[in-house]
């Protein structure tokens, strides 16, 4: 048995490595993108539209002669920023709501849980579409739309954790001693919910990428000519016969990122969560 355990743990460490490594690459590209790429992301070579991969253009050009590789790299910042900011925002909001609901209980809890349940009945993407359509094109709308769907599940999760922790002796002691609620929450309850929060957030990041890309694909993302991957996919569709690279490349970029987040989240969960051993 211990043998198997060690083997499993070794595999999980591998997950963290691979996932983390890929994520680092993406972050680096997103951060350094504009300085690293051979062409401007809006630089048009009208004499060389829909060119296949070549020495000049490693991934070819699109229908108005823009270098696909450059656009891909620069586009990382939209997807990555939107996904990371969304899940962090959702984590902060969700954790706050969950903490309050779980700790105070009673009517506050009932109200917040009711609200969360209501929100949970709307499928994530539908909610995102509705919000994005009201706020309009741009990063704000994209982030708000993606965040919305994650707040309720995170809140519920944290609430559950808080309910567990609330029963523990050290919390009861703190209450008995007369410490203020806020202090108890911050000092004694929160740390035990943090692990859950971190794991869940990283697991949701992959979904955030998919939702963001879907919004871009549906035309609800950032304004043209921003090289957002989902938008590039929908724009490339009509050229599928003559220039499939326009569709393949952004899709691979999205998939790899989601894969990285998924695998990293898995590794994190198995490393940090004592209850989840395969």
């Amino acid at each position: 048995m211990p043998e198997a355990g060690r083997r499993i743990r070794g595999r999980r460490g591998f997950h963290l490595l691979v996932g983390g490594g890929l994520l680092l690459v993406y972050v680096a590209l997103a951060a350094l993108g504009p300085w690293v790429v051979p062409y401007g992301e809006n630089e048009q070579d009208l004499l060389g539209v829909l060119a296949p991969a070549s020495g000049d253009h490693w991934l070819g050009t699109d229908q108005i002669g823009r270098d696909l590789l450059s656009r891909l790299v620069v586009g990382a910042r939209f997807t990555l920023t939107a996904a990371i900011v969304s899940v962090i925002l959702a984590a902060v909001l969700g954790a706050t709501l969950g903490l309050v609901a779980g700790y105070f209980g009673g009517r506050v809890d009932a109200a917040l849980t009711g609200l969360a349940d209501l929100l949970l009945t709307v499928p994530n993407l539908i909610l995102a579409i509705a919000i994005a359509s009201v706020i309009g094109a741009g990063m704000t709308g994209l982030i708000a739309a993606t965040t919305a769907g994650f707040v309720a599940p995170l809140a519920r999760l944290i609430r559950g954790r808080v309910l567990e922790v609330r029963q523990e002796d050290f919390v009861q002691a703190a209450v008995a001693v007369g410490l203020r609620d806020a202090r108890i929450l911050a000092r004694h309850v929160l740390p035990h919910a943090t692990t859950t929060l971190v794991i869940e957030t990283s697991l949701l990041a992959g979904q955030a990428v998919l939702i963001g890309a879907a919004l871009g694909f549906l035309g609800l993302g950032v304004r043209p000519p921003a090289p957002e991957w989902g938008t590039m996919l929908s724009g490339g569709r009509e050229f599928l016969e003559v220039a499939p690279h326009l569709v393949v490349a952004p899709g691979v970029a999205i998939s790899l990122l989601v894969f990285a987040f998924n695998i990293f989240g898995d590794g994190l969960r198995d490393r940090l969560d004592p209850r989840h051993r395969s």
Binding site: N42, E43, Q44, L46, L47, G48, V49, L50, Q63, I64, G65, A137, G219, R223, P224, P225, G235, E238, F239, L240, E241, V242, A243
Partner: protein, 536 residues
């Protein structure tokens, strides 16, 4: 022929569980050899020249040209030829035309076509309540007078040189008055009865129209027994259907796919320039775009030739006039040379200087632009916007693109002046009655009230009294040479005033299987099948 039948049968069988009108399909299979199927890029939802007016454009019109006859028709080069009228006399004051009608013509329902029928139709089209569409074509018409059974005179309120254009336009289709009685004004759209070479057999709005040859057609029974119009929105599906033979004709082949299609052995590709010049409409009510120097600078900043040749693979031609090349009255102008230097110089002349950060500004205000782009309404519209954005950025303008969904684009354009939310907007106008005068009036004649919504398509609030005067002259002068001269001068002035950034005229590409003869591609974006016949 056997293979075609087999293919038709196979594809029909595959689609049969969900194709409505299955009994008709069985009939069609029996006469498959004399059926022509046309895969259209637009859906047909209404077949009435008045109510709904052959929605959607141009698909409905293409069906209408087979179902209905008009007093006069266009030929392939958009010249007027007799149809239901054998001959006509235009009055010297341009206020009426007397038509001598063809005799022994019957509508599909057997009723006779005569002067009374013409009067009925004209009155229906003039009446704003019964015909809310195509108003610019029918508002100038006063009435029709029955002179005798086969002679009718149509009068206009003021001298109007484009009456024949209105009558040759799809909306001039003659509907059987008996049918209007029977189905009501609003019923014709789903139950069309005309006097054309084909009659309606089946109609599933938004999906399919089936027409059958009309035995009693005055011009003789058409060569093809049956015409089927199918709605196939996506280009690759249309092309695939053409390749497999489940359709015989398709329209709107995207330019990037033409080369591939030309390689097919049994497919023929036909290309015709359209009548629709693409451009960026400028909102003259918003400074600094009220300054003609700025507008001319914009025209110098875009590489229109390269766009036409490269981005549209040569299936477009750079504009050199406000009208398209084949429009009646087109007159070539001096093209705006592509020169970033010239553009920048003009902006300097207009008082713009680079401010902090390199962006141009005048009196402390930076030079910005909101560019409206539709999505999928015009060929390559988003691409055009992105190219324009970059081109303008290179001369120092900060451009934001605002994408509008195709369904709401017209509304976004035709707003009250205070509600206009753009500086420039991607736009192309197609004068479906082929009249250059109609085109110039729609876009460049002064609005009745600039503060309210534009009268037709003068969203930019362009106003030049000289142009108005010339257009009025072209309308009222009986001498065709003088009409052309007035239109030419009007075009010259408009071109110089530059209320548009003119780009190019797209070509329309239609494809059909070898062995189909007689399919005409008209510049007004219509693929006409009424004289088509299937051979071999």
């Amino acid at each position: 022929m056997n293979r075609r039948t087999a293919l038709t049968l196979l594809s029909t069988a595959a689609a049969s569980p969900f194709t409505l009108g299955s009994p008709l399909r069985a009939l069609a299979q029996a006469t498959a050899a004399r059926t022509l199927t046309y895969g259209q890029s637009g859906a047909v939802t209404a077949l009435d020249p008045a109510q709904g007016s052959f929605a959607t454009y141009p698909a409905g019109y293409e069906v209408a040209y087979c179902l209905y006859d008009r007093l006069v028709d266009f030929d392939e080069n958009l010249k007027f030829v007799p149809q239901l009228a054998e001959s006509w006399d235009v009055a010297p004051d341009l206020k009426s035309i007397r038509f001598r009608l063809r005799k022994n013509v019957r509508f599909h329902d057997g009723t006779a076509f005569n002067a009374q029928a013409v009067k009925f139709n004209v009155e229906r089209l003039i009446d704003k309540a019964r015909n809310p569409t195509n108003r610019p074509l029918w508002d100038p018409v006063a009435d029709a007078d029955v002179v005798d059974e086969h002679t009718v005179a149509i009068r206009t309120k003021a001298p109007y040189s484009q009456l024949l254009n209105s009558l040759a336009h799809g909306s001039g289709s003659m509907v059987s008055p008996a049918a209007v009685e029977k189905h009501g004004d609003k019923g014709i759209a789903q139950n069309p009865v005309g006097a054309g070479p084909y009659r309606l057999e089946a109609f599933t709005p938004g999906q399919e129209v089936v027409l059958r040859a009309f035995d009693g057609y005055w011009g003789g029974k058409p060569a093809t027994d049956r015409l089927v119009f199918k709605y196939i929105l996506e280009a690759s599906t249309r092309i695939a259907a053409l390749r497999t033979g489940s359709v015989d004709v398709i329209d709107s082949v995207p330019v990037q796919l033409v080369a591939g299609l030309r390689k097919e052995a049994n497919v023929e590709v036909v290309v015709r320039p359209s009548l629709r010049p693409m451009g960026l409409a400028i909102n003259l009510s918003r400074p600094p775009y009220d300054d003609p120097r700025v507008r001319r600078a914009l025209n110098h900043a875009i590489p229109v030739e390269t766009i036409a040749e490269r981005v549209f693979f040569g299936f477009a031609k750079a504009s050199d006039a406000p009208l398209a090349f084949d429009t009646q009255g087109y007159q070539k102008q001096r093209p705006y040379e592509y020169s970033v230097a010239k553009a920048k110089a003009l902006l300097v002349e207009a008082g713009f200087k680079p401010g902090a950060g390199g962006q141009l500004e005048r009196e402390g205000k930076p030079l910005k632009m909101t560019l409206l782009a539709s999505e999928g309404l015009f060929p390559g519209d988003v691409n055009i916007a992105e190219i324009a954005q970059r081109a303008f950025q290179q001369i120092g303008i900060d451009v934001t693109i605002s994408k509008i969904e195709r369904g709401s684009y017209w509304d976004a354009l035709r707003q009250e002046r205070a509600a206009l939310a753009f500086d420039l907007a991607v736009f192309g106008f197609n004068p479906s009655n082929a009249s250059g005068l109609y085109h110039l009036e729609s876009l460049f004649k002064s609005n009745a009230d600039d503060a309210a919504r534009p009268t037709v398509w003068n969203m930019g609030r362009y106003r030049n009294p000289k142009v108005d005067e010339l257009l009025a002259q072209a309308n009222s002068n009986p001498d065709p040479a003088k009409q052309l001269a007035a239109m030419g001068e009007a075009q010259r002035i408009v071109w110089e005033d530059a209320p548009y950034v003119w780009l190019h005229v797209n070509q329309n590409v239609t494809a059909f299987r070898k062995g189909i003869k007689g399919v005409e591609l008209w510049p007004i974006v219509f693929t006409i099948a009424r004289r088509a016949r299937v051979e071999a």
